[in-house]
Symmetry: C2
């Protein structure tokens, strides 16, 4: 999208929605590796080398467990939850910063009774995520803290 196509001002509306920004819930079926998560692309322009997206999970929702070469730069915006980065599980709250380096497993999970929303900055040019194999999952779950994190629903 070039600058001309974008309104200069896009006011925030109630509930972490924005004027002129499409709300994109991820479609899920029984086998989806994510749950109750939506994406809104806030900035995506030819003259910016990164994009800024806002992801939100309903209470008990979670993002896909994945890894890739590109780096994520994350700021929590609303709610409570936890995230896994590499081998570390961390509770998160608004305005916490999280760096997801290349080729680290990562996943976000909203608290059981509270939504979790975060900003994620990424390079516009980036590789596609890789999902875990059964062996990868088994290796991760050998760590009790990670097993506990992944069993939260």
């Amino acid at each position: 999208m070039d600058d001309d196509a974008l309104p200069l001002f896009r006011p925030a509306m109630q509930g972490f929605r924005w004027d002129a920004v499409a709300h994109q819930p991820y479609k899920q079926d029984g086998s989806a590796p994510f749950k109750d998560i939506s994406r809104q692309v806030l900035f995506q322009q030819d003259n910016l080398a990164c994009e800024l997206r806002y992801f939100e999970m309903d209470p008990a929702g979670y993002s896909t467990l994945e890894q890739h070469e590109h780096t994520h730069a994350v700021m929590i915006l609303r709610g409570r939850g936890a995230c896994l980065v590499d081998r570390t599980v961390q509770a998160v709250k608004p305005f916490d910063l999280i760096t997801i380096p290349a080729w680290t497993w990562h996943q976000f999970r909203a608290a059981p009774t509270e939504a979790l929303g975060f900003l994620c900055m990424v390079n516009s040019q980036r590789d596609r995520p890789r999902l875990p194999t059964d062996d990868d999952l088994a290796a991760l779950k050998r760590d009790p803290a990670i097993a506990r994190f992944m069993s939260t629903t």
Copy 2:
């Protein structure tokens, strides 16, 4: 800064400060074109093509009026105030989105009694800002709304 040097998790502290992020107040003297503003660089890494910075102005503070080729992608995070982009003055509140296209004059001003803080995403490689000449300022102030905005203290 490479990924290895950065903690994966940098918790938010009280008052929009972050663990392991330097708080950089801009030094000002009588002739400074800005007032009571600070910068915190939240993400700046070799493998990210953009940086994410947090700027905050005290009540009645303001940023430098400037223009440049690179684009700013802004999200307000706290407080109230107004901003000028090109020829438009707009009141702003938390989570509003603002696009500052190439070569547009822009300035942020906190409300008289409330701080204003915002995130700003920019390309890591970018040109230096250009300040207005006396003629530029006179041209801008011919618009009553811009003159009023610029006289707010």
